[in-house]
């Protein structure tokens, strides 16, 4: 279950709200342990990717060390990172500088 930010966080200062707004990226980083087939399964399960798209992102992680698997609003990005971490993938949030 995803932690519910609004229940646990104190009110943000306006400046913090601004920082948390905009677009955010969910990035999966490579690790030497998780199986390729496992990573493909996780991408299909978490994002609903088809086999081809899941494999493309898995290979990006494997060969380039990272793959941007989703971008959008902060709250949903956090939920995806949480779910990926439940599956023990090394997932991080990054601001999407392009937006």
């Amino acid at each position: 279950m995803t932690p519910i930010r609004s229940h646990t966080l104190p009110k943000h200062e306006p400046q913090t709200e601004l920082a948390l707004g905009g677009e955010w990226r969910v990035v999966v980083l490579n690790d030497p342990v998780n199986l390729m087939s496992y990573v493909v399964l996780v991408f299909k399960k978490v994002f609903g990717f088809d086999e081809q798209r899941a494999r493309k992102h898995m290979l990006e992680v494997h060969e380039q060390g990272r793959s941007i698997v989703w971008s959008g609003l902060r709250e949903k990005a956090e939920a995806y990172v949480f779910t990926l971490q439940q599956w023990h993938l090394n997932a991080v949030l990054e601001p999407d500088e392009a937006h």
């Binding site: 299909k44 399960k45 439940q86 949030l93």
Partner: protein, 153 residues
């Protein structure tokens, strides 16, 4: 309900369970992958970590539950749609912990390539690597035969 039963070689697998149980103990209080959540509020970060730990512990308990009386009498473990997802995740958690606790001397590149001659390894590295391979085999079996159960659940 799709179900697969696997007969394991008890003399090979039983000794690996001590390693798995030892690592499972470590996973009670430590995430398999440390979260990088520096920009989150401290309370939110704590709630996030607690929920991940609780889910991780549930998964690991399901994995350990495979090795019940039936396993020790018949050598059989069974996977189905009720346990596949938890077990495949728990295997990932224990494998990550194995790397952290035992397999660092092998180096990440070697670990990733899998190009390791077990006969050249000495204890406790050898048993840890056997465990690492065993759990990967369990994951592959589940992904090969039960991935639709996981995706549809």
């Amino acid at each position: 309900m799709k179900r697969i039963e696997v007969k394991l070689a008890l003399p090979v697998v039983a000794p690996l369970l001590d390693v798995i149980k030892e690592l499972a103990d470590g996973l009670k209080k430590n995430l398999a992958v440390a979260s990088q959540l520096e920009d989150l509020d401290a309370d939110f970060r704590a709630a996030w970590t607690d929920e991940l730990l609780a889910a991780q512990n549930d998964d690991v308990a399901t994995l350990l539950g495979l090795f019940n009386d039936e396993f020790f009498s018949e050598g059989v473990v069974a996977f189905d749609e009720n346990n596949a997802e938890a077990i495949v995740r728990a295997c990932a958690a224990v494998r990550l912990r194995l790397r952290e606790c035992f397999l660092v001397p092998l180096g990440d590149e070697t670990l990733e390539s899998g190009d390791i001659d077990i006969a050249t390894l000495h204890e406790p590295l050898r048993k840890a690597f056997m465990c690492y391979l065993f759990l990967a085999t369990v994951q592959e079996l589940i992904i090969q035969h039960l991935d639709s159960s996981i995706l549809d659940s």
